[in-house]
Symmetry: C2
Subunit: 215 residues, 2 copies
């Protein structure tokens, strides 16, 4: 259920290998994270996906860092959520991240890849386990609860099941998700706006193009 | 350009007339607005729409109050933005509103209606002008600037055009938007989640149904 068709997986054999310093929007995003780090919710952003009926869906998720040195942003999810169903049909999503102190907005678009326990890439499975090890006790306990968004389970014992500790094998419901960011729209209020899009070169690296836009 | 097909307009002749006190989620949202009002961005939420190519789009907008005594939420937009194009093809949108101090999330889904200067309903045109009158000088000046999101206009004078004052007729690019909210998903972290959906009765009022969900 959790593994994706390797042909749809943009990591695959030709993982883009762009350098950290060469990507302007990533430097800007890292600076915004630093400038707003005193706000406990500075790592929260809103993720839009599309439902099977074609309507949009939107919810708050928590940034869990970039994948390795790439421009892929990561977060975690429960494999039983509706968004995982959405991604199977339409993997492209858009994150909207507003930094309230510095008045910056990042809109990051790209394909989502769900990394569950059966993902074929060993390195990604390891990244998933690392993400589990970095979760708080409260965060981990969610993955043992009945499936979210479904009618409330009346049996309270179902919310009191034991949860593997940090370092122990993550529950099957736990997934790491990454977005292979391919477009970025950056706004610094009141009047700076930059658009970024990218192409994947024949060597498999992602080349970024920046354009000034009207705010 | 701004007026919508009246048949698609959920206001129309049979405007839903639900009472304020009878709608639980609206009371909860008003309480959250009050509990977080010391945060200048507490009225900011993220709005997801769907592009003509079927991909989701997501950006931050500012809540401008409920329309009259209804459960319709309002914000403003420039009629030249991409989101107005999206809404023509797929009017259903989802707002995600996270209140960082009280740890509450509201997801509000429903059709968007764009109210520009040519909207056939006089009361809505008046509500649009009221929204213009309530904008700050900086907020109003945006609507005289070159169209946002397009390649940067090099001529600086294009950003220095005079803007009508409060009380003067709003620029044609200015639109009020309302969402005729028909579903709500409410989360109070860590463990409360309520789902609301609604039906329109034969009298044209909206009847709400609440269900407890797994968090």
């Amino acid at each position: 259920m959790l593994s994706r068709d390797p042909e749809l997986d943009p990591l695959g054999e030709q993982q883009p290998t762009e350098g950290i310093m060469s990507v302007a929007w990533k430097s800007t995003l890292n600076k915004a994270l630093d400038a707003n780090k005193h706000l406990k919710y500075s790592t929260f952003f809103q993720l839009a996906t599309v439902r099977p009926d074609g309507k949009p869906s939107n919810r708050t998720v928590v940034f869990r860092g970039f994948l390795d040195d790439s421009t892929k942003i990561t977060f975690t999810t429960d494999t039983r959520t509706f968004k995982v169903e959405h991604v199977k049909k339409m993997p492209w999503a858009e994150a909207c991240w507003y930094f309230s102190d510095s008045r910056e907005q990042f809109r990051l678009g790209g394909d989502l890849v769900i990394v569950g326990p059966d993902h074929p890439d060993a390195h990604l499975r390891e990244a998933r386990q690392d993400a589990w090890n970095n979760m708080s006790t409260g965060g981990r306990s969610w993955f043992a609860w009945p499936a979210s968004g479904r009618p409330r389970e009346p049996n309270k014992e179902e919310f009191e099941k034991p949860v593997p500790d940090k370092g122990e094998e993550a529950l099957p419901s736990f997934a790491l998700v990454y977005m292979d960011v391919d477009t970025v729209d950056y706004v610094l209020l009141p009047d700076v706006r930059l658009g970024y899009d990218s192409t994947v070169t024949s060597e498999g690296s992602r080349e970024w193009h920046q354009q000034e836009l009207n705010p």
